[in-house]
């Protein structure tokens, strides 16, 4: 990050990792042979993305991708999501949803939601916790994940 962003807070929010994932989102595009999908809409800023999942016969996420448009935070969060939940069992992915959204909204952890996933990269999103108006951007893709896993077609953050 450029030195001109002299503001500590701002650096926390727009970390290199976030900017990198926002510029080059991973697993971007429609997923062939998706079995599940859901749309996430953030009416606050018009962010809108669609998450695709291919869940195999072992209830494992064999494929994941997203498409859509949004701010750096929501794109980066979606991109990081696809990396985190790839190859996870469905129950584990659901636990990720719970863990991540609770952390971002500063709620206590849910002891029932345990996951084997590596969520360390997602700490890069922690900066939004000091930007209440941006938390919904960071959680948007996760709500879409939750909706897709639970066979709902749409999630909004309002």
């Amino acid at each position: 990050m450029n030195a001109a962003a002299d503001n500590q807070d701002l650096q926390e929010l727009y970390r290199e990792l976030i900017l990198d994932h926002a510029r080059k989102p991973r697993n971007f595009g429609r997923l062939d042979a998706a079995t599940h999908s859901a749309e996430g809409i953030n009416p606050l800023c018009g962010d809108k993305l669609r998450l695709y999942l291919r869940i195999d016969s072992n209830d494992r996420i064999a494929g994941v991708s997203f498409e859509g448009s949004g701010c750096a935070i929501s794109l980066a969060s979606a991109s990081l999501l696809t990396e985190a939940v790839s190859n996870l069992p469905v129950a584990d992915a659901d636990a990720c949803f719970s863990t991540v959204t609770r952390r971002l909204t500063r709620q206590p952890e849910n002891p029932a939601a345990t996951t084997t996933a590596n969520l360390s990269k997602l700490k890069a999103l922690d900066g939004v916790r000091d930007h209440p108006s941006r938390i919904k951007c960071a959680t948007l893709a996760w709500h879409a994940l939750h909706a897709a896993l639970h066979q709902q077609s749409q999630a909004t953050t309002e």
């Binding site: 727009y14 018009g46 108006s133």
Partner: protein
Amino acid sequence: MNLPHSQPVADFSDYRDDFPALQQSVNGQPLVYLDSAASAQQPNAVIEAVASYQREDHANVHRGVHTLSHRATESYEGARDKLCNFINASSRAEIVLTSGTTESINLVAQSFCRPVLKPGDQILITWLEHHSNIVPWQLVCEQTGAELIVAPINDRGEVELDALYELMTERVKLLGIGHVSNALGSINPLRDIIGHAKQAGITVLVDGAQGVPHMSVDVQSLGCDFYAFSGHKMFGPTGTGILWGREQLLEAMPPYQGGGDMILEVSFEQTVFNELPYKFEAGTPNISGVIGLGAAVDYLSGIGMDSVLEHEKSLHAYMVTQLAAIEGIRLVGTAENQASVQSFLLNDIHPHDLGTILDHQGVAIRTGHHCAMPLMQRFGLPGTARASLGLYNDRDDIDRLTGALEKARQVFA
């Protein structure tokens, strides 16, 4: 011999001091408020009018013989008179008090249009419109089988007049058009447009939400049939709005809502509605809000709307020059006649991120679709960043804006 029309520009820096919200710091920086198109700040005179009404004069209006009720009624109805003068309505019967522009437009859609619209009829709007001047028409079209048609705009954000006039056939029952675009700032050539509509026999509603706060409005000389606006964009309280309508039209319309105050006599057999404007004002109104709005009208009249317009035009010109000098900026909305609002983009930074980075530096702008999604689609954009001016803004605010944008450019470099 003509006397020169231009007056010396008033010193607007004095007015800024009247607004307590602008005296604060946000995120460690003095606040620069560039979001007046969403909602304007209030001068002390308005805040105090509301508070002192509540401390001293509050009671329900219209039906009380006791002193407070009389005082409340006088102040409330006095505000109506001020609004009547402010927009040069021909009678106070034409000033219907609502909760805002949105309700005003819904009232016209439901009470003026719904009873007469038939399949095959059309409502005409433009691509510039705010959702409040789109969705009420969609609802009434769905209810009646009528059709909503939309006049195109050009890449500068101006209504294409030829195309608009071509759409003005006898099928069109109403034209709903904004005075000033809240997203792009384009000022519509209303006289011309209304003239054409009238020739085609079309009733015209003007969405004046962004007109009244920025320029002097004379509904009689405009020649429209309805003019809708909101209190909170003209430095008055939220929850207040006005529908101005020609007496003759209002007279013929059925009431919108039923309840107290809008009736003369109620029996289970027959209910007689009250006179204008009360026929359209059901229930206890927003008394304190309307009284605050009266104070806002006094405040604006004291400055003079022509001075406000001049001040904002010159400030807008300065803003455009300064913005254009930033590397990677793209101005969205470059109508020839434009004031008080400027939309823009910076490189490929999402407007939402821009908004956050500016907020960090104490600069409040709006980002997103500005309740004008079809317009955004027209430009192929998910949204824009928008800086909008009020009479209290100055060149320093613009300099702070451009400085903050430079930083944003660097964060995302």
